[in-house]
């Protein structure tokens, strides 16, 4: 397993429920080991197994696309 920590900018969160929804959306992806989402900073710190998921794949998760109100960019 190749563990990596990814920092993301998350747009569209307005309340604690949003942060929870984004957290669930991230953790639901195979290869995501943990996700800490900050409503205040509009960001997420995500630990991933790079063998299973690439950082930029996180931006295209269902929670960040389609009719979802959230969008995200991998920053580091």
């Amino acid at each position: 397993m190749t563990e990596k920590t990814v920092k993301m900018k998350v747009f569209g969160m307005t309340c604690d429920d949003c942060a929870l929804t984004v957290t669930r959306g991230l953790k639901g992806k195979d290869g995501v080991l943990d996700a800490k989402v900050s409503l205040a900073d509009k960001s997420a710190v995500v630990r991933i197994d790079e063998g299973k998921v690439k950082p930029f794949e996180l931006e295209a998760l269902p929670v960040f696309s389609g009719k979802s109100q959230y969008r995200a960019q991998v920053r580091e």
Binding site: F11, G12, T14, K42, S65, Q69, R71, Q73
Partner: protein, 469 residues
């Protein structure tokens, strides 16, 4: 002003505004955006392009129609223009549009900062801005710096105080004799407007035809129509020098010609604003024709996009710029891979008659595909045109013979810029001639010309009764 933004947009015209607003919408207003630029907000179109030119065109049309009523029994009115008042109202209209559609709009977005100054890339993540002590960092950039008028290097022209589409709006008097150098859209529109306001207009064009991108039979008809109004066309001509007293020395295939005028309008094209951006530092490829982008508006630096006139592309249009701004913002935040269908982007020349076009010309489609199916229809065949007593014009539809799909629609007629939308919808949605035939049109309208041209693919329209479907 912050020192770091999610999105830095360089420019403040149609592409920049569309991109900023779309990025704000997608991110629920949470993307921090800097819009960096100088000059009036709104860019070319509202300040020195479409808005003032269409205002002047409509005013000159009113004067022309008063002097030249089309119907027997309506006497001409000997009206004289007061250009100072007209241009004053034009400038007020421009200011009003700029305020309503740009200044008031941008104030409603708390996440967008307007930064005054000229941007220069330091690297792919940072710009300096003239007059600002601090550099600005951005995660993404959209370059939307637009275009500027270009004027060829002609001996004596600099001393002749020539006009361009940037400063013609400051005129207080109608020039007695006006030379328009350039037979493109700007030269023809302003040439006709000033002709109707009272100038003796001479259009000097280097090519053998005006509007070389148009269907040749349509541009030829437009030139004939404008010539009938009194505009002189000097074709295949090059301005050698301009002497004191605005004497223009022209060389043509027939020899040398001298033209003494009171004003010179240089309508010789526009060039993308790439200089001074230091695009090399950002790894953005460009040429004198503009910035290279892929079909998703992404430059050679994947975090930097470009939109509008600054892009290396065939058309310079406000609507195209605005669409590209939206697409750039959408692709940045949505990974949507959206692109523009350039063949469904219409363009128009607001002369009278108007010329409007979308998609392939006959020659373009034939060259690309080995053949096409085309029909042309004289405007005289359209009942509404006869009612309007406006018979100078032509419709042409280009069809892919393999599937009957419409791939080009071209019109020279009253309201052509309005009715071309039927062609846009047809091409955008892959409609066939039969789809047009199966759609009822209002009678009597000029847009019935599209239907009649479509009908000419299946029958001799001289053997049709009125409104036959």
């Amino acid at each position: 002003m912050k020192r770091e933004y999610d999105l830095v947009i360089i420019g403040r015209g149609a592409a920049a505004f569309s991109a900023a607003i779309k990025a704000s919408e997608i991110t629920s207003g949470q993307a921090s955006i800097a819009m960096v630029g100088f000059g009036h907000l709104g860019g070319t179109c509202v300040n020195v392009g479409c808005v003032p030119s269409k205002y002047l065109i409509e005013a000159s049309k009113m004067l022309f129609d008063q002097r030249n009523p089309r119907y027997p029994g309506i006497a001409p009115v000997a009206a004289e223009p007061n250009l100072k008042d007209l241009m004053g109202s034009l400038r007020d209209a421009v200011e009003g549009e700029r305020e309503a559609k740009y200044e008031d709009v941008i104030r409603q977005y708390d996440n967008i900062d307007i930064v005054e100054g000229k941007a220069t890339f330091k690297d792919g993540n940072e710009i300096s801005v003239s007059g600002n002590a601090h550099n600005i960092r951005g995660y993404n950039f959209i370059i939307a710096t637009g275009s500027s008028t270009t004027v060829p290097d002609i001996e004596g022209l600099g001393e002749a105080a020539y006009l361009t589409s940037d400063n013609i709006w400051d005129l207080d008097d109608v020039p007695g004799r006006l030379a328009v150098v350039g037979g493109g859209a700007i030269g023809l529109e302003l040439g006709q407007a000033f002709s109707r306001l009272g100038s003796e207009v001479h259009v000097v064009e280097a090519l053998p035809s005006i509007l070389p991108q148009a269907e040749p039979e349509i541009s030829t008809r437009l030139m004939e129509s404008l010539a009938k109004e009194g505009i002189e066309f000097i074709m295949k001509a090059r301005v050698l020098r301009v002497s004191t007293g605005k004497v223009i020395d022209i060389v043509t295939a027939e020899g040398r010609k001298e033209l003494k005028v009171d004003a010179i309008l240089m309508a010789t094209g526009r060039a993308p604003n790439v200089s001074g951006l230091n695009l090399e530092a950002a790894g953005v490829k460009y040429s004198r024709k503009g910035i290279w982008v892929d079909s998703n508006m992404r430059t050679s630096n994947p975090r930097i996009y470009a939109a509008g006139d600054v892009v290396d592309q065939r058309l310079m249009l406000e609507t195209l710029a605005a669409r590209e701004g939206v697409i750039a913002a959408t692709n940045i935040y949505e990974h949507a891979n959206q692109s523009v269908n350039m063949m469904a982007v219409p363009w128009a020349v607001f002369t009278e008659p108007q010329l409007a076009s979308v998609g392939f010309t006959e020659k373009e489609f034939t060259n690309a595909n080995g053949g096409c199916s085309c029909r042309s229809l004289d405007l005289k065949s359209v009942p509404k045109a006869r009612i309007l007593r406006e018979e100078d014009g032509l419709f042409k539809i280009v069809v892919d013979p393999r599937n009957d799909r419409i791939v080009g629609v071209h019109a020279l007629s009253p309201y052509a810029a309005e009715l071309i939308m039927e062609g846009v919808c047809a091409i955008q949605h892959g409609l066939t001639i039969n789809d047009v035939l199966m759609s009822s049109h209002v009678f009597p309208t000029v847009s019935e010309g599209i239907k009649l041209t479509a009908q000419s693919f299946i029958r001799d329209i001289s053997k049709m009764s009125c409104c036959m479907e």
